[in-house]
C-alpha cells in the first residue's frame, strides 16, 4: 500500500465514518474520566488515611503497590475470569490501575507536611477541620494533582486495551484495524490515543503550575 493510498484512506474514513470516530473518542474519554474519578474517590481518602500512621501506610501502600507492578494488560486479563467482560469490568480494572499513583502521591503529600507547621497551626487555635482545609489540603494539592496526571495518562493508554474486554473507545478502531489488516484504522486509533494522552497531561500540568505559584525560585533560601 502506498503512502498516498494510506492518506486517501484516512481522509475517506473521516469523510464517511466521522460519527463512528467521534463516538469512539467520546467513549474513550468518558471511560478514562470515570475510571480516574473513581480512582480519586478511592485513592485520595486512602492516601490521607495512610499518611496518618506508618502501620496503616505499610498495609495500604503494600496492597496497592502490587497493582503497580502487575502490567495493565495482565490486570485486564485477570479481570475476565473474575468479573467477566463488558464496560463495567473494564471500568473496574482501569480504576484499579489508576489508584496506585494517586494513593502514593496523596500519602507522600500529606505525610510530607512538616510537623511544626501543623503544630503552629494548632498552637494558634485552628481547629482540625480548618487545618485540613486551609493548610493540609492546599499544600498537598500539587503533589496529589501530579499523581492524578500520571493516573490519567496511564488510564487513557490502557483504555485502548480495555476495549478488548468490551469497554469500547478508540481501542475498537485499533483492534478492528488489526483484525482487518487496515493500517489506516491503526494509525487513526494510535495517533488519537497519543494526542488524548498528551493533551490531558498538558492540561493537568497547567493546573499544577498554577497551584505552586507561591514557590518562588527567585529568592535564595537561607
Amino acid at each position: 500500500m502506498s503512502h498516498a493510498g494510506l492518506i486517501e484512506k484516512i481522509a475517506e474514513y473521516f469523510q464517511n465514518r466521522s460519527d463512528v470516530y467521534l463516538e469512539a473518542v467520546a467513549r474513550h474519554l468518558e471511560i478514562s474520566f470515570v475510571a480516574a474519578f473513581i480512582a480519586c474517590v478511592v485513592g485520595i481518602p486512602l492516601g490521607i488515611l495512610s499518611a496518618r500512621g506508618s502501620k496503616i501506610r505499610t498495609f495500604i501502600t503494600g496492597i496497592f503497590g502490587v497493582f503497580r507492578i502487575i502490567p495493565s494488560l495482565a490486570i485486564l486479563l485477570l479481570c475476565i475470569p473474575i468479573i467477566g467482560t463488558g464496560p463495567a469490568p473494564a471500568l473496574i480494572a482501569l480504576s484499579f490501575l489508576a489508584i496506585p499513583p494517586i494513593l502514593i502521591n496523596t500519602t507522600q503529600a500529606f505525610a510530607g507536611i512538616p510537623g511544626f507547621l501543623i503544630e503552629t497551626a494548632e498552637g494558634m487555635g485552628m481547629s482540625s477541620a480548618r487545618i485540613f482545609f486551609t493548610v493540609k489540603a492546599p499544600l498537598s494539592m500539587p503533589i496529589v494533582l501530579a499523581g492524578i496526571k500520571t493516573a490519567v495518562t496511564e488510564v487513557i493508554a490502557s483504555a485502548t486495551l480495555a476495549s478488548y474486554i468490551g469497554a469500547g473507545g478508540l481501542g475498537n478502531l485499533i483492534f478492528t484495524g488489526l483484525g482487518l489488516l487496515r493500517a489506516d484504522l491503526l494509525l487513526i486509533g494510535g495517533i488519537s490515543v497519543a494526542l488524548l494522552s498528551v493533551s490531558a497531561d498538558f492540561l493537568l500540568s497547567c493546573a499544577e503550575r498554577r497551584l505552586v505559584r507561591y514557590r518562588n525560585p527567585r529568592i535564595a533560601s537561607t
Binding site: P114, F116, L117, E119, T120, A121, E122, G123, M124, G125, M126, S127, R130, V135, P138, L139, Y214, R215, N216, R218, I219, S221, T222
Partner: protein, 258 residues
Amino acid sequence: MIALSFENAVKRFPGATTNAVDHVSLDIEEGELVTILGASGSGKTTLLKMVNRLIEPDEGTIRLFGEDIKDRDPVKLRHGIGYVIQQIGLFPHMTVRENIATVPKILKWDKARIDARADELLALVNLDPAEFRGRYPAQLSGGQQQRVGLARALAADPAVMLMDEPFGAIDAINRSNLQAELLSIHGKHKKTYLFVTHDVGEALKLGGKVLVMDRGRVKQFDAPQRIVDDPADDFVRELLDSASGLRERRRGMNVGIL
C-alpha cells in the same frame, strides 16, 4: 495581677524514667517578660506547651488570670495566646497578609479591620507594609520570616505570648535587631511573655525575670541582675560561667580573624 501561675505542674512522657517537667510552681506577673533558660532537654518547651495545652500536665494546675486552663476549650484558649517557634511555621502557600490574618479570620474580623491590623503589625516589626504584605514566605529572608511570625502571633492582641527559641536560627546581627524590637514591642504593649532561649546573654538581656531550669525543675526565678550577682547554686553559676567563657572565646576568635 498574676497572669499565669503553675501549681505543682508535672509532665512525664510515656516510657520516660524522669519527669520532663517536675513539680514546677511559679507565678508570673502580668506584663512581665520572662526568659526561660536551661540546657537541652531541661523541659523548657514542655513547660511552654502546657500553657496553650499542646501538652497536658499529668499533675498540677495551670491558671491564666486565675482561671484553670483545663476548664477552657483549648481552641478558644489558644486564640488569646500568641505562639512563636524557632522553625517559624509560616504557611508557605499564603501571603504575609494572609498569614497574619490567620487568627483574626477565625475570630471573623471584617476585611478592612484585618487589612488595617496587618499593616499596623508589619510596621511594628519594621517591615514596610506596602512592600511585604503581598509576598510569600519563600520571598523573605529568615529574619524577615520571623518578623512576620511575630506579627502573626500578635495579630489578635493576645494577653500572653509564648516564644520557643524564636531567634535561635537567625544570624547574630539580625538577632540583636530582633531582640531590640521585641523589647520595644513589649515596652509599648506590656503583655506577658514567656521566651525560651539557649543563649544566656539573650536571657539576661531580654528578661525582666529569668527562669533557670534543670531536668524539669526550676533552679532559680529571679531578676537577671540577681541571677548574676547571686546564683542560687552551682548549676546556675556554671551556666553563667560557661556563657562568659564562650564570650571570651568568641572575642579571641574575632581577634584571630581580624
